[in-house]
Amino acid sequence: MDFYLTALLQGLCYSAIALGIYISMKIFNIPDITTDGSYTLGGAVTGIMLTHHQSTWVILPVVIVAGALAGALTGLIHTKLKINALLAGILVMTGLYSVNLIVLGRSNLPVSDLPSLFNGFHLIADPNQNTLIIISIFVIVITFLIGYLLKTDFGIAMRATGNSESMIRALGVNTDRMKITGLALANALTALSGYLIVQFQGFADISMGIGIVIVGLGSVIIAETLINWFKITSVWISLVLVLAGAVIFQLVLAFTLAIGVDPNLLKLGTAAFVLLIVSLPRLSFNRAS
């Protein structure tokens, strides 16, 4: 059972990435893969600051700003230099690898015996349940903030930017600035996942971000399938489904390991699983028409 609880906790940690990918991919319609770099950046900043005995509450805003800067850089390259968003993301992600290595100072940094977000507060005795409560509060606050943002006038303009650029420009919105803001927000959320995971796992690692974008994509695609399935239009329910997507994704991976699949095949399994979810709606759609 603990096995699945860990998967649930991990899913909740990754829900910030899922929200980030939801914003860049679904709201802005930009395939942003800065993710791998900004996630590790969040983790590296957290790791190094923890070892320098900074409080987790001091680290939090630094991680958010670091992630936002990475995203804004991708946004600037994409909008001002008119470079394809995918390439802009790859460039920043590649560059970030060196940055992360410099920040971290070495390839792996253990932080498990340092005071962190999860062992600093003892709400209940059981450490796993304690972690669950803290992560849940964290995720609820983030989701509430993002949900509120999307409901505001600024948020409606954000949603329209990925939808009909000509319209939103005619309505007086600087779409370039909007996209840069959006990518900054998305990568700040991604870095936040790095922050949570490092404190949860107890170490920061230079390769922790490799392929992490698929976790976000998979979660969003699960959510999107559910959104289309139940014809959801509410912003709030969509966000909750994105969270659910992140958790379901980790539970499926945990299940795959539990039934004895070779851990070396895990990434292959992940890719296959995402392929399956992406193709399912299309298959049934073809039958219907």
């Binding site: 505001t152 007086g172 600087n174």
Partner: protein, 249 residues
Amino acid sequence: MIAINDIHKVFNKGKANQVNAVNGITLNIKSEEFLVIVGSNGSGKTTLLNLVAGSVIPDKGTIIIDDNDVTKLADHHRSQWIARVFQNPISGTASDLSILDNFRLAAIRTKPKGLTIGINDQFKQQVKEKIATLGMGLENKIEQSMGTLSGGQRQALTLLMSVMDSCKVLLLDEPTAALDPRSAEVVMRTADKLIADFKLTAILITHNLKDAYNYGTRIIQMSEGLIINDLDSTKKATLKQNDLFDWFG
């Protein structure tokens, strides 16, 4: 209201596919004038409209809107005077957003989009009343996404959205080109009524000579980036529909 002075625009300058879209047009559009532009494909009509809107910045010449020199101003800055309806209904509205969200954005076209929630019961009521004037029965569907509506409904709503916030200039780029004849008529009538009711200065591009004949207070014909015919309201009143067909003869 709009003063265009000796404006030029060349695309792909110096390349084999160079296009001299607009070749030195000078045009003064008075306040509350409803200008209709006709001309064959490639005559520079849409470029001229994009120059006014700011989607295209001229190589030479000046554009003054309401006594402000806007020649170098980007389109999202010109939105404080200008509202647009595009040829493609998809361009003028956001498909995935609800009708209500679309109207909210239109209602704050000239204002900053801040971090407050602007949609409240009062606003919903206001939107419902506005939409009811179209007589399309859409007032009870404001939570529905724009994408579920037909092209005609979307164009009619786009028109209505343009007058949600203060608007001086309305640009219509073949707003009925993608519509069936009946929807096209509804959209043109709505446009004509809004232009009169809100005392707008309007520019309409159309290939429909019947619309060009029926609507507007002034008509110009363009060819190869120049104005080759210009009839003011008194001359347009004496114009016969067949004369218009002769322009393209």
